[in-house]
């Protein structure tokens, strides 16, 4: 428990590390969702237009 | 139509472009005056918002005047290429045999003469209301003189990038303000340093060097941006 509270600085340190993790997760999620969205839009368009490009 | 066998000299063409913009500005004085009123008005907002304490006004004067000047320049930049874009004279400039950066430089010079220079001239009047001593006012005018040159040139890049776009005003500010921060920092801080009896040379040298850098590079960037915007 001592190690986690880090004197009085625990809240600051932990919130920074958590925020770092969150930013990485958001970037990961965003990369994934953008890829899905772009791919799905193309799929929908191809189905609607048939053979036209 | 007069057939000209040789292309006009670069300097001549530049002067012609500048002269044309100056004549246009003369015919529509509102375009020149409105940013000046805006400058005076923003400078009036601060004492009203902050309170009439003389000490505070003396302290914040340089910063307020410089911020107001920056915003006023930004306001006038919006129309730099828009009328040329709408009436087709921009297309003429693009296909002209004269190098485009030279024509752009001519326009920027005209823009500075109709926006930067008037700001420098009326700034002492506004400075008086901030109880700025005359020696400091001299430095203020000098920093504005050097700084507005940079702002006109830097701003022309932004104006060229956003010409023909909808709601370009906010976008132009977003593009240019971060890039204009060195000018603001050195302009305003140099004046406050003088006001507190400190050295001035460093800041003025920086402003002069920056102006030289921007005058020599910006026309090329603006020309490139104009070509891209009008493809």
């Amino acid at each position: 428990m001592e190690g986690l509270t880090m004197g009085s600085y625990g809240a600051y340190v932990w919130s920074c590390f958590i925020m770092g993790g969150l930013v990485l997760l958001i970037c990961d999620w965003r990369a994934r969702s953008l890829q899905r969205k772009v791919y799905r839009d193309i799929e929908v368009r191809i189905k609607a237009l048939g053979d036209e490009l | 139509m007069i057939e000209e066998t040789d292309t006009p000299g670069v300097m001549k063409a530049m002067a012609a472009v500048a002269k044309r913009d100056l004549v246009l500005a003369w015919k529509r004085p509102g375009d020149v005056l409105n940013p000046l009123f805006f400058f005076a008005m923003v400078a009036t907002l601060f004492p009203l918002a902050v309170g009439p304490s003389n000490e505070q006004l003396e302290f914040s004067g340089p910063g307020v005047l410089w911020t107001a000047a920056l915003l006023a320049t930004l306001l006038s930049l919006n129309s730099l290429f828009v009328t040329d874009f709408e009436d087709g004279s921009l297309d003429q400039m693009l296909v002209s045999s004269v190098p485009l950066p030279a024509l752009v430089l001519g326009k920027s010079i005209a823009h500075w003469l109709t926006s930067g220079l008037p700001l420098v001239i009326i700034s002492p009047v506004v400075a008086i209301t901030f109880r700025m001593p005359s020696s400091v006012t001299g430095v203020l005018m000098l920093t504005l003189l050097l700084g507005t040159v940079s702002l006109s040139m830097l701003g022309s890049i932004g104006a060229a990038l956003t010409v023909g776009l909808h709601r370009a005003t906010a976008l132009l500010s977003l593009l240019i303000l971060p890039l204009a921060m060195p000018v603001l920092i050195f302009g305003a801080r140099t004046v406050s340093l003088v006001a507190s009896g400190d050295i001035v040379a460093g800041g003025l040298y920086f402003l002069a060097a920056y102006a030289v850098l921007v005058v020599s590079l910006a026309p090329f960037a603006t020309a490139a941006a104009l070509r891209i915007s009008n493809e």
Binding site: G7, Y12, V13, G20, R36, Y39 | I157, L171, P182
Partner: protein, 250 residues
């Protein structure tokens, strides 16, 4: 050499290659983060001046470094795209900007949180690094706003490339002028210039985190470039064939 670059930069080739590249970034990135976080939080001793609050640098420094790195990648690939008209490099610039903005935000947020116990305030204008990071964030916003304002992708590419290059000339000047500005009233700086004098038990986790963030940034960038390529090539034959055979979805 040129042939190799052109093959690599050809959209379908890159699109199929990218998923094979990503694990080479992700796996070392995750491993290094695991080591860096553990060592940074538990193995490294507390700083004799800053106590445990110094551990924030394990997030702050890598993200501040990446915010500069991303801009450099953006500006260089914008220049390549403008000069040699390589389409892929414009996609790189477009993909790098939002990532750079995120890491700039992270650097700002962690710097501000660090400032709270150290300076007793969430924001200290006297610190040149934080102030330039803030301006950097605005530069990223301007770049992305210009891109978003132009509908035609090719035009948006070139216009934003010009802006990125103008910014590349200006960013060092902004840093210099902010340094000068804050030096006027003796601002506190976030990092002392300890350099190699830093104790290895503190330094190694930091190096690991910098490397880890770089790897993870590489993975994210590769994936975003890939999506960018897919979007730009959405009307081409190869994309159509690929989608019809239901390949390359993720």
């Amino acid at each position: 050499m040129w042939k190799f670059i052109h093959k690599l930069a050809s959209p379908p080739h890159f699109y199929n290659l990218a998923p094979k590249l990503v694990p080479w970034f992700t796996v070392p990135g995750v491993l290094l983060v695991a080591y860096g976080v553990y060592a940074g939080l538990f193995l490294a001793p507390a700083d004799y001046q800053q106590g445990d609050a110094f551990r924030i640098i394990y997030i702050h420094v890598p993200s501040a470094y990446l915010s500069m790195m991303a801009y450099m990648i953006m500006a260089v690939s914008a220049a390549i795209g403008l000069i040699w008209r390589i389409k892929l490099s414009h996609a790189v610039a477009a993909a790098a900007a939002p990532l750079g903005a995120w890491f700039t935000f992270l650097a700002l947020a962690t710097g501000s949180i660090w400032g709270r116990p150290m300076w007793g305030t969430w924001w200290e204008w006297g610190d040149p690094r934080l102030t330039s990071e803030l301006i950097m964030l605005f530069v990223y916003f301007g770049y992305m706003a210009l891109r978003a304002a132009i509908d035609d992708t090719a035009k948006a590419d070139k216009a934003s490339a010009v802006l990125a290059l103008v910014g590349a000339v200006n960013v060092p000047i902004i840093h210099f002028s902010v340094e000068w500005w804050s030096s006027l009233h003796q601002g506190a700086t976030l990092l002392r210039k300890d350099g190699p004098a830093m104790d290895p038990s503190m330094l190694y986790p930091l190096l690991a985190m910098i490397l880890a963030f770089t790897f993870l940034f590489g993975a994210l960038l590769t994936r975003r470039i890939r999506t960018e390529v897919l979007f730009r090539e959405r009307r081409t034959r190869w994309v159509k064939d690929m989608v019809l055979s239901a390949k390359g979805r993720n």
